[in-house]
Each structure stands twice: as C-alpha cells, then as structure tokens.
C-alpha cells in the first residue's frame, strides 16, 4: 500500500471494511430477562448462530513484518560463563526462582541480528538465569522463526538454544533443565535444557495459558472445534509429561467464560475468567483459587461493579493484586486473604491507566501498574510515581525475586518493535535488555 493522503487512506479503509447490516432497532436494556441471560435478545431479529471465525493472525503479521525488516548486525553468541549466585525472594507467576545448576546447553539456530530479535516472553529461575522467547525478524522467514535465548549471567551474554519445530507464543522454565513452550495448539516440553522437545496436543482444544510452579505445570485449554465449547485446566508433573484434567467449578466449563489470567505460586493457583460476550453470564469476572495444586478450587468475587478483570497477580498464597476495567480505565484491587475477598484500593493520587493495564507486585504494599506508563507504588496502591513513560505501551511480566522483574514494551520506538525491560531494584529503575 503506497503512501496515501489521509482522505484517500480513509476511503480505502471504508471500502475494505464496508458497512454493517443493522437488524436491531437500538439498545434495549429493558428487554433483558430476569436472570441476566441475555443471549436470546442479543442480535435480536437475526437469530443467527454465531459465525465461526478463527484467531491467531497476530503472529502472522509479526512474521510478515519481521520478514520485511533487514538489519545488518550479526549477533555473536559468546561462551557462557558460570553464573553468579542466585537471589532469593518471592516468586511471581511468570518466573520461578530455584537453586540453579549450570545447564549443559545445546546450540540452537543463530539469531542473525541483535536488533532483529523481537522479544515476546521471558521466564527466569533466578536473577542470573533467564530465557527470552522472541522472533528472528532479520534472518528468518516462514513459520518457524521462534528463537529462545538463554542467559546465565543476568543478561550480560546470551546463547541460542534449540526451539520446537514450530512457532510458539509462550515460554516457561521451572529449572534449567525443564521447560515448556506453547502455541495455540501444542505444548512442547523439554527436560534437557532445550536439546530436545516433545509435543502434547489435545484434539479440538486451544491452549490459552501455561504456568509452572512447584511440582506441576498447568495449562488452561478451551475447546475450539465444537459447538459445546468449554474451558478447563490440565496439569502435568514437571518431569513426567503426563497431563491430567483438573475439575473447575460449574459453568466456567461452558461457553460462558473466557480465561483472562493464570497465576501460580508454589501449590497455589489463581485463575481469572471474564464473561464471554453474549453468554448470559451474570458475573462479569470470576476468580478461582486453589491451595492444593489444583485438586480443589474455591471461587471469589472480584471487580464487583467494574467491567471485568484485566490482570491478576499472585505475590504469595495470601497477597493477590488485580487490575479491573472500569470501561476506559483500570482500577487496582487487592486481596490479603488468598483471594477470598478482593477490595478496590482507594486512591489518594489518581492515575489513568487504560482498561487493559497489567499489575505485578512484590509484596502487599509494593506494586507496579503498567499500561501507557509504568507506575510504581510503595504504599499499597494509594499513590504512584511514574517509573517509565516513553510513549510505549507496557505489560508487566512479573518478578523473579523481590528486586528482579521484567516488563515488555510495545510501540513508541522508531522501529515500532517490542522491547524487554528489567529492573533490579524492585521497579525503581528499569533498563532495556539488549541482545549483544
């Protein structure tokens, strides 16, 4: 598409999208039935079954953009020194500190150019050992352009390890040997530091989220091939590759809810769902928690009066944080009793983070809120200061220790690419990770 004037661009996009055929006569709040089950009046007049469509195009555009980017620098992979000692402290959902032996690393595909590597996800087992999943945008075209870089020295040097034979969108490592990468259809596991990967798939199921902590790895899966779609959880012992279903309460396992956030800490699990539009669900958000590795779940109310839960973060089996959408913006909620009761945090200094904001924390008082800025609070969310504001959009990944955390940026840079940012002082200062 060549450069166009705004009017010409507008005309082309109008032509491409077209105009809707509106069958209803306007909003009709009074027509909703008593129990809030509103499927029958949504799309009134049409009575049409929902149209089947597919997802997963975002990756395609990343690959499409990536294939067009040309960068000349070559990424030299250095030999990996023995890592320094690990830090200790609370774990976030994305990272899993543990005593970390030095793994023997197999050599993966080269990443052609440092600034052609677009980070997508990060997982860490200590302050020194972490893995970054990304796309090689300079030296690779086609579907299998995922790359996994590992550092054993806190990001000073990186090495590429083998990747699964397909593009993946998420990555978690429990320890230097055991890790999982996943796409929408497949979970790949490695038990030899990435030297080999084994696939697990579930027919007709889409993999929505995956986390590991303690003795298990957990996956949230939703049916994708039948009219009776349902979301459920599976777990596998970390060293076994034997997946078993977990029982979730009631109507979560129906069409009514879509998973929003899976968080784990030790044997504690917190799973947030949002109501699927048109599903008839009365509650817009639900949080299920388990303190016994998913054997039993309890349900908590969250985001009451808000539009739904946008983000959930587990600091410990007692302290949880959530960002709840109020429409355009997000409010911060917290729980100090393991998710039994969530309450909105009263603000003494306002913030205006968007409804898709993410939250992460290291304690019941210290948290980060990320949206169009990266904000930090040391008083339980009552006041905030801006840690980063460079025009990018921000997403907090999590904290490895009470000091070490990661965030991903998207947007504002000249190249319009993503970046991986790290803090080593509990979010007071952040620096962008480079891949030398």
């Amino acid at each position: 598409m060549e450069k166009l004037t705004p009017d010409a661009l507008r005309a082309r996009i109008h032509a491409a999208i077209g105009e809707p055929e509106i069958t209803g006569r306007g909003f009709d709040l009074g027509a909703a039935p008593a129990d809030g089950r509103r499927r029958w009046w949504l799309g009134q007049g049409s009575g049409a079954a929902p149209t089947p469509v597919r997802v997963g195009a975002v990756l395609a555009v990343v690959v499409a953009v990536a294939s067009a980017v040309t960068v000349g620098t070559v990424l030299h992979l250095r030999s990996l020194p023995k890592p320094a000692g690990s830090h200790s402290g609370p774990a976030g959902p994305a990272t899993h500190p543990s005593a970390s032996a030095v793994p023997t690393l197999a050599v993966g595909p080269p990443v052609t150019a440092a600034d052609g590597f677009l980070p997508q996800d990060v997982t860490a087992v200590s302050a020194d050992q972490w893995w970054v999943l990304g796309h090689d945008t300079a030296g690779c075209t086609g579907a299998a352009c995922s790359r996994i870089l590992v550092t054993l020295d806190g990001g000073q040097t990186f090495a590429s390890i083998p990747t699964p034979p397909a593009s993946v969108t998420g990555l978690r490592f429990r320890d230097p040997e055991d890790g999982w990468a996943y796409s929408s259809t497949t979970v790949w596991s490695t038990h030899d530091a990435g030297a080999s990967w084994s696939a697990a798939t579930w027919s007709g199921m889409t993999i929505e989220d995956l986390e590991t902590s303690g003795s298990y790895v957990y996956a949230v899966v939703c049916a994708s091939g039948s009219g009776e779609s349902a979301c459920s959880m599976r777990r596998s012992a970390t060293e076994a590759d034997g997946w078993e279903p977990l029982s979730l309460p009631g109507d979560v396992e129906t069409l009514r809810y879509v998973p929003k956030s899976l968080n784990v800490h030790g044997g504690y699990i917190a799973l947030a769902f949002g109501a699927s539009p048109g599903s008839g669900a009365v509650q817009l958000s639900r949080v299920l928690t388990s303190g016994d590795d998913g054997e039993h779940f309890s349900e908590a109310s969250i985001c009451a009066g808000a539009m739904g839960v946008a983000s959930l973060y587990v600091v410990s089996s007692e302290d949880l944080w959530a960002a709840c959408s109020t429409g355009m913006l997000a409010d911060v909620w917290s729980s100090t009793d393991g998710g039994a009761v969530f309450t909105a945090v009263p603000q003494s200094s306002g913030y205006d983070e968007p409804s898709w904001a993410t939250v992460a924390a290291t304690s019941a008082t210290h948290l980060e809120l990320a949206g169009t800025e990266l904000l930090v609070s040391d008083d339980g969310g009552r006041t905030y200061r801006v840690a980063l504001d460079n025009g990018d959009s921000w997403s907090i990944v999590g904290f490895t220790t009470s000091e070490d955390g990661f965030a991903l940026s998207s947007g504002g840079g000249v190249a319009g690419t993503t970046g991986l940012w790290r803090t080593v002082d509990a979010g007071a200062d952040w620096y962008e990770v480079t891949f030398p």
């Binding site: 996009i13 555009v61 539009p277 009066g305 355009m328 959009s393």
Partner: protein, 180 residues
C-alpha cells in the same frame, strides 16, 4: 422489569433509570455498531457486542466520572467487548478453517477493485487488537486523534505513534501483494 428490580431500587424506579440510561445511549447506537463491525467484520457479532456493551455500561454506570463524556467511555466498552469476542469460544469455533469474518461481500460498485479490497481486509484482520482499534477509530469512524486517545485511554502522541506503526504494518503486510 424483574431484571431492573434486581439491579437495585424499586422496579418502577429501576425501569425509569434504565429507560433514561437507554435514552442517553441511543445516539451512540450507530457509532457503536460501526465500531464493532470494524473490529469484527460480522454484522450479527457486531450487534451482539454493542448490546453486550450497553448492558455492561448499564451495570457500571456508576463508573462514569463526573464531568466525563459518555461517548468515549461507552466506545471503550464496545472495544473491550469486541476484544472479548475475539477471545471467546465462538471465535475459535472455526478451528483451522479460513476466517470468514470478512465474508460479507464487497459492494457491487467496488467489484473492479475486489482483489485489492480483499487484500486490505485480510491485512486489517491480521492486525493486533490495539492497532486495529486505532485504525478503525481514526480511519473508519473518522474520529480525531484526540477522540481516539479518549477512547483508548492513551495520549494523543501515543495514538499518533500507534496509528503510524499500524499503517506501516499494513504496508509491510501488503508488500507481498499487489498494491491496492
């Protein structure tokens, strides 16, 4: 009426409140449907998303801050509903089949540009939610950067950057196709 009563107050009061709120939303109906259609490209799903947004707005009407406008707040809710639709089970029902979200036909007078229009539709479909939202708000609903910023909760500068980046992605995506 029972529904209204369940939301608080007497049945009569709640029905009246609902009617008043509905009247405030009605001027936004067409715009809400068009936003949803721009995001979902299916008329039925667009109406569903807009209706869902209306109900969510009614439930959370207390969140409309004093002095703030209803329009950007409500359009943001519509956008959130569209995002949830794209994450919902229905959206996945197609499995690995080709997407049919753009199945509604090109207008007859555009037939001579059909291929180029379909290419642009596909490229729009491949944009991420946030990029697509900015493009739809700016170039389909013809909102100003200021109004787009109000809906997306971003600064105008961030909106301009995102729009620029999204257009760049469209161009790159179309680079392998014939230019439209």
């Amino acid at each position: 009426m029972v529904f209204a009563a369940a939301l608080g107050g007497t049945a009569d009061e709640s029905v009246q409140d609902a009617a008043e709120f509905e009247a405030r939303l009605q001027p936004l109906y067409s715009e809400a449907i068009r936003l949803a259609y721009g995001m979902l490209h299916n008329s039925t799903l667009a109406e569903d998303a807009a209706q869902e947004a209306a109900l969510r707005a009614w439930r959370a009407r207390g969140n409309v801050r004093d002095g703030s406008e209803l329009r950007p707040w409500f359009l943001a809710i519509v956008a959130n509903c569209c995002r949830d639709v794209r994450r919902s089970s229905w959206w996945r029902l197609g499995g690995g089949q080709p997407a049919v979200e753009f199945a509604e036909p090109v207008a007859p007078d555009r037939n001579e540009h059909r291929e180029a229009i379909y290419d642009l539709r596909d490229a729009l479909r491949r944009l991420g939610h946030r990029d697509r939202l900015v493009i739809v708000l700016r170039y389909y609903l013809d909102l100003s950067h200021e109004d787009v910023a109000a809906v997306t909760g971003q600064t105008e500068t961030a909106v301009r950057a995102r729009a620029s980046r999204a257009l760049r992605r469209l161009r790159l995506d179309l680079a392998s196709e014939d230019d439209v």
